[in-house]
């Protein structure tokens, strides 16, 4: 009987995933939409699930559990291969040897530990939601495109990333470096300081303590990489005013993650309007202080937004 209900749950999820609005979303974006839908319509759904065409033989709570189980399975089936492919083919982990010249990193071992930690993070439902932005950033090759322009312009952001952070590496290496950091950015969402998670933390002290804890934990989790990278990745969840001056990569990634948290794949170019990218940065410039974006980086991204294609 349970088997039949699980199959029904799978069909239910298939139906939702095939809806035109949802089909175009990333797997994690689609999951977020379905979870939001279930949350907002729980009472109506529970009533409907009692009908013979849904789950008449089990309590609605159990039906929802089946649905969530099926949904998670579907999302993981799509996401884990996606990120594994990114680790295998898009990131050159050997750049760690260029960043830290006195170290000798075992690239293959770093890759394997990356795959494991990503899988662990994706298994966690709260952490998985954070991968929505990361998925889109990789899918759109946004770091490749934006960094190419930033390195070409050699203006504020370049100066921050290279000179202020003292990371004197070539463009392609920097792209790999930022991608490496980006994959680890959801890690603090796995951490708890008391009852608090990063999402529920109040005030800068709680946030900072969770991130500090997460950095320490990440260093233990991937001892093969340097603490600098662990800190930069974890601190990409922090607003500009909580970052140390040298953490330019975190500032940059914080903005990209925020940008793609609002990304809507269905949004087309509107006649008479700026592009979605330009509009986002246009608004972000004005609310930079409230949202913790670095004004200089947002301003530069605003200027190059239409060239990032």
């Amino acid at each position: 009987m349970s088997d039949t209900n699980l199959q029904r749950a799978e069909k239910f999820i298939n139906h939702l995933l095939e809806l035109p609005n949802i089909r175009i979303e990333s797997p994690i974006g689609a999951e977020s939409q379905i979870l939001l839908f279930i949350k907002n319509n729980r009472s109506k759904l529970e009533a409907s699930f009692k009908n013979p065409e849904f789950f008449p033989s089990i309590p609605p709570d159990q039906a929802i559990a089946f649905i969530l189980q099926s949904l998670q399975k579907r999302v993981l089936e799509s996401c884990i291969p996606f990120f594994t492919k990114i680790i295998d083919s898009e990131i050159d982990f050997s750049i760690l040897n260029k960043v830290h010249k006195n170290h000798n990193f075992n690239v293959e071992a770093v890759k394997q530990s990356y795959k494991k930690i990503i899988e662990d993070m994706l298994q966690d439902s709260v952490c998985r939601v954070q991968f929505k932005s990361i998925y889109y950033i990789f899918e759109k090759r946004y770091i490749d495109k934006s960094l190419a322009l930033i390195f070409e312009r050699k203006a504020f952001t370049y100066n921050e990333l290279v000179r202020v952070q003292k990371c004197f590496i070539e463009l392609q290496d920097y792209i790999s470096y930022l991608k490496m950091l980006l994959l680890l950015t959801p890690y603090p969402h796995l951490q708890k300081a008391g009852n608090k998670t990063l999402a529920s933390a109040n005030g800068k002290d709680e946030i900072q303590s969770i991130c500090k804890l997460a950095t320490g934990s990440l260093v233990k989790e991937i001892p093969l990489i340097d603490i600098t990278e662990c800190k930069l990745a974890v601190d990409s969840n922090l607003p500009d005013y909580l970052l140390e001056n040298w953490e330019a990569s975190s500032r940059f990634l914080f903005i990209l993650i925020s940008r793609f948290a609002d990304y809507e794949p269905a949004n087309k170019k509107e006649k008479g309007a700026e592009t979605a990218d330009k509009s986002w940065y246009g608004v972000a410039r004005k609310v930079a202080q409230n949202y913790g974006y670095n004004k200089g980086i947002v301003d530069e991204l605003y200027l190059i937004a239409n060239e990032i294609k």
Partner: protein, 392 residues
């Protein structure tokens, strides 16, 4: 089912009327060109009959729409706000005063009237306002909805107003032009008649004197001179000496002095005049004067078409990018919680009031909205209705 069928029929009829609008404009141009370029009589007849048929169809359409709107108690709305007055101007007056009487004349005598030289003033007025048929083009503006953002109601109304002003300015100018005596074609026709009357009266008197003197040589010389004059004047089509005048004298004079071959087939009957001037029967052409009038009409018609095309192709784009799109984006940004597109502000026009407004929307409203919704959940893209008809 009944409703579906009637809306399908209505779509077909509207499509037919829209095509007919373009056909009618083409018919006006070809009708005028056929006169100027002296096309074969049969083509002129086809075009004339097509014009009459088009006027009939538009009149029937106007009457039908009027009856329906009266039944729905919305005649005032139809007439004043839904182009009813344009439908009226383009149908009933033209049928009653232009193509209708011409059709009756054609059926009874086989003559196609063009009204250019009509002595009846109203006919000449109608001839002038034939150009107002171009107003029908306003009715097909809604066809432009696939072009740019032309489905904007505001755009269609503004464009219509501008085109009405443009078309009426040209029509009124043409109307005034036709009634300024210096430019009046009718006056030119009268002047031509007077000239020929004077010339041929003089010739007639000379001929009478020569005949009285029984001076055969003088008569021959005079006829020869008259023939040379006829050859020199392209407007003289036929000149005969009246048979009764010849019979009353002993001197032999050829009855037909001059005749252009087959001129009856080439020139519309209303574009040549017959005059009895003493001993002569004279037929002369006023085609050149008709051409001037037709040329002016065509010029106005092309001016209207050109202006309409320019408004549709150029001004429409300006209006869309600088007014209606801006309003559309701002309205969407105000209406929808998750809509954050900024208005694109062209550098050269940034000081225009609407872009000042757009700057305020971009730089003040959207950031304020963003701050207001900070940390708040977005709406789900799935609704409970998406589960309807779901079979698992």
């Amino acid at each position: 089912m009944e409703n579906k069928r009637s809306s399908g029929l209505s779509r077909v009829l509207n499509g037919f009327i829209n095509i007919l609008i373009f056909v009618s404009i083409l018919q006006i141009i070809l009708d005028d060109l056929s006169v100027v370029l002296m096309w074969d009589q049969k083509y002129k007849t086809y075009l004339f009959l097509a014009g009459f048929a088009i006027d009939c169809i538009f009149s029937i359409e106007f009457i039908t729409r009027t009856i329906i709107s009266i039944k729905n108690s919305s005649f005032a709305n139809y007439f004043f706000y839904e182009n009813g007055w344009i439908d009226f101007i383009c149908s009933i007056p033209l049928l009653l005063f232009s193509s209708g009487p011409s059709f009756i004349t054609y059926m009874t005598s086989g003559i196609i009237l063009t009204n250019i030289f009509s002595s009846v003033k109203i006919m000449r007025i109608v001839r002038t306002i034939r150009i107002s048929r171009i107003l029908r083009i306003l009715r097909v503006l809604k066809l432009l909805k696939n072009l740019q953002n032309a489905n904007s109601k505001m755009l269609q109304n503004h464009l219509k107003t501008i085109m009405i002003i443009c078309i009426f300015s040209i029509i009124i100018s043409l109307f005034i032009y036709s009634y300024i005596p210096v430019f009046s074609v009718q006056n030119a026709v009268e002047a031509r008649t007077q000239t020929y009357t004077s010339i041929f009266l003089a010739y007639s008197n000379q001929l009478l004197l020569a005949i009285d003197r029984k001076d055969n040589r003088a008569v021959d010389e005079l006829v020869k001179n008259i023939r040379i004059l006829c050859f020199a004047d392209k407007n003289i089509l036929k000149l005969e000496i009246k048979p009764d005048f010849i019979n009353n004298n002993d001197i032999k004079v050829q009855n037909s002095i001059y005749k252009v071959k087959d001129y009856e087939d080439q020139i519309l009957r209303s574009h040549y005049l017959d005059e009895n001037i003493s001993s002569f029967n004279l037929s002369y052409s006023v085609q050149d004067l008709a051409n001037i009038q037709i040329g002016i009409n065509l010029l106005c018609l092309f001016a209207v078409i050109l202006a309409s095309s320019a408004y549709i192709l150029y001004y429409l784009k300006i209006f869309v990018t600088r007014i209606s799109d801006v309003i559309y984006i701002i309205f969407k940004g105000i209406k929808h919680k998750d809509y954050y597109y900024q208005v694109k502000i062209p550098e050269h026009y940034k000081d225009e009031e609407i872009f000042e407004f757009a700057k305020f929307y971009n730089n003040v409203y959207l950031p304020a909205k963003k701050k207001m919704y900070k940390g708040k959940e977005k709406d789900s893209k799935i609704t409970i209705d998406d589960l309807l008809n779901m079979d698992i």
